[in-house]
Symmetry: C2
Subunit: 422 residues, 2 copies
């Protein structure tokens, strides 16, 4: 039997301290220029300023007639003014005639307003009359200068900040970038993350069930979480409970990939090889105990400039460890300003009766009621529990408490992907 | 000049009515069986029940010793009981010896508890002593039956509902499916959506700027929105302002793809060909006016069993039209129970001063403060405005009002992708 004491005493540190130790090791990933049409979900590696004002020409805001507003001075129902239509300007075309007093151009929404015009009067406010081969319109009220014209730079001035480095590219960003003709963008490369499972109890997910064994679900769950965070994933074969093999496999993964994430083998049990591995010479241990539940045995180490996260094999603890540590690390490597889960204040919707000596991150779900954010803890939130992960869209933060936290109390809440829109 | 009256009068219908007309035309898409590792973000096309209980064996919840709890009856500090260690059970292994009274098995977290044992006592509560070639442990208190054993079916009983058809597959679902060895899943095929832009004013995004023209940003924005909704996208060449060409191109797209979405050309302007096209014989018009802003000219039609959405060319209106109508349509084709944007109640954080005769969907962003959901309307939310789409994570619903809506008022809010986690 292995002497568990050889794994050494563990100094538990706080989640914040653990996150800081990770941040201190991280560096920005490389970048690459890609087509905008492929950029959804990627993170900008450059700050982009407006190459021109937008709109870049004076744009008609309505279908109507471009006019010189002064021509309508004094116009009223019984004293209409008459203007002759001399041009037609579809969107995308340019005015073909210079306007002068007494003239107007038919113009479509989005088209460039003739330079001489300073207002567009909508169709509905005019009456069109054909007389002597000429088309004229009658206007029965004064039109103010600037009416229905979007001025140059109304939305964005030249050199205005368009999008900051580190921004995730979603539909709104794509709209802006396309508008300015930025058809290729510099983005951070997706960190490539190798996932290992450890433990002789693991069956692959397509193997038949065996007594005493469980299927390797964590590797697939982690793959999804890491992709959500913006990483690419390589699932490697599970590591048997053999320290030398584990060392060789992890070393090889460090050569090939940007980050290594393992699940299982971090406790103090007889076969918890990851707990031993991170104490070896090849790695510098960042921490191997965090004052949190689930996931107190979450471990991180560094080799060269690359991080190893050794997460618990318990599904709940593995999930939380990934959200608290791996996700932010992947975010930082892609320039994310706020890489950690967003924290809000919510109102506990039911009593929470468990006593904690560590801060507890309780799976839960958000409900919005009459302008308030209520949070419901999952009925089962032990670290070993898998089934409630899928119904959770937040983690409720319960600090160390010696008595139950009552319904109605304000609590900190960490939002997971899909919060609120599940 | 084209007579705009030929486009006919438009009967404006409510958003709810428009959504109902779309729902009435929709059908579930086809399905396909794919590997679980490829299933992230897809929608289940089958309801899945638990093929076995979970856990499927009595599992040790701690590293410790499996014992027969009755052996500890009467144990106390000055009257310890002694048990002989006869087996060691790592996770994944099976007990090799049947326990009898007076015996115990060293056992690791996650391992199968011997059938004869009914409790696991953690290492820390025992003292281990080697005597006469035998290893014994001393226990100084009574251990209750069931202690540190997770019973069979604790999380899930056989045939319990695991995941309902129509559920989006995220990390939690993947964890459950992998746990039960469901390594392939039946999912709905992604609807393939063709996107057309119309309008002679459009430059492609890699063309140099030209006076009076704008770049085709909507096609790329829509592509991102449709992918977010679970669709696949084909961006087709923009359609020039020619009704016959438009007809031919749209007809061809209906042959090849599951849905057609166009942007631009739906107003009553001289060159608004989509407005004409949906009135032709090839299509059955569902609606061409909705009592909403932006996007009142949003149009939908059907051909055979396929839908055409003709959205406004104004970026803000195009964005909202896609979220309100196209996204739910793609959701329904994939079995989504609640295909519409999630609606919550928020508290208006600033006065909203615009007067509306139609319901207004104002771009905005959520802020969580002390358990409340505040919503801030974007400063620019005209239908033509593009720049505020990127900073919005919700649409604030302002009903027809004849006066300003004051700060502090409760309002309905539709959550967009990324709500809260931006």
């Amino acid at each position: 039997m292995i002497d568990n004491l050889s794994k050494g005493p563990r100094n538990a540190i706080s989640v914040k301290e653990a996150q800081q130790r990770i941040l201190s090791q991280l560096h920005l990933g490389g970048n690459e220029r890609i087509d905008l049409s492929e950029a959804r979900g990627r993170y900008l590696a450059e700050t982009i300023l407006a190459p021109h004002p937008y709109p870049h020409f004076r744009r008609a805001g309505m279908d109507g007639f471009a006019i010189i507003s002064q021509d309508t001075c004094g116009a009223q129902t019984d004293q209409p003014v008459w203007l002759e239509i001399v041009d037609e300007i579809p969107a995308g075309a340019l005015p073909s005639i210079s306007l002068e007093s007494g003239l107007a151009s038919r113009i479509m929404t989005g088209a460039k307003v003739p330079d001489e015009a300073d207002a567009v009067v909508m169709f509905e406010m005019t009456e069109q009359i054909e007389q002597g081969g000429r088309t004229t319109i009658q206007i029965k009220r004064e039109i103010e200068p600037g009416k229905n014209i979007t001025p140059i730079g109304f939305e964005i001035k030249q050199d205005d900040l368009l999008i900051k480095e580190g921004t995730r590219i979603s539909s709104g960003e794509i709209s802006v970038l396309a508008t300015f003709g930025i058809h290729q963008v510099l983005v951070y490369k997706k960190p490539v993350v190798a996932i290992f499972s450890t433990g002789s109890e693991l069956l692959d997910i397509d193997e038949a069930l065996q007594d005493g064994k469980i299927r390797n679900s964590n590797a697939y769950m982690l793959a999804c979480q890491i992709r959500d965070a913006g990483g690419e994933v390589i699932i490697l074969d599970a590591i048997p409970d053999d320290l030398q093999i584990a060392k060789a496999r992890v070393t090889e993964a460090f050569e090939l990939y940007d980050m290594v994430v393992t699940t299982g083998g971090v406790s103090v049990g007889d076969f918890d090889i990851m707990a031993d591995l991170v104490q070896g010479e090849e790695l510098t241990l960042l921490f191997n105990k965090v004052t949190m539940r689930p996931g107190s045995v979450t471990t991180a180490a560094v080799r060269g400039r690359k991080l190893l996260f050794a997460l618990s094999g318990n599904p709940g603890a593995c999930f939380v460890g990934c959200e608290m540590f791996v996700r932010p690390a992947i975010g930082v490597m892609q320039g994310k300003d706020h890489p950690f889960l967003k924290e809000i204040t919510g109102i506990l919707a039911t009593d929470f009766n468990k006593i904690n000596n560590f801060t507890r991150f309780v799976r839960g779900h958000l409900a919005y009621e009459e302008g308030q954010v209520l949070v419901y803890p999952a009925s089962l939130d032990e670290s070993s529990v898998m089934v409630t992960i899928k119904d959770s869209d937040c983690l409720i933060v319960i600090p160390p408490v010696s008595q139950a936290v009552p319904k109605g109390q304000k609590v900190q809440v960490l939002l997971l992907d899909g919060s609120g829109i599940l």
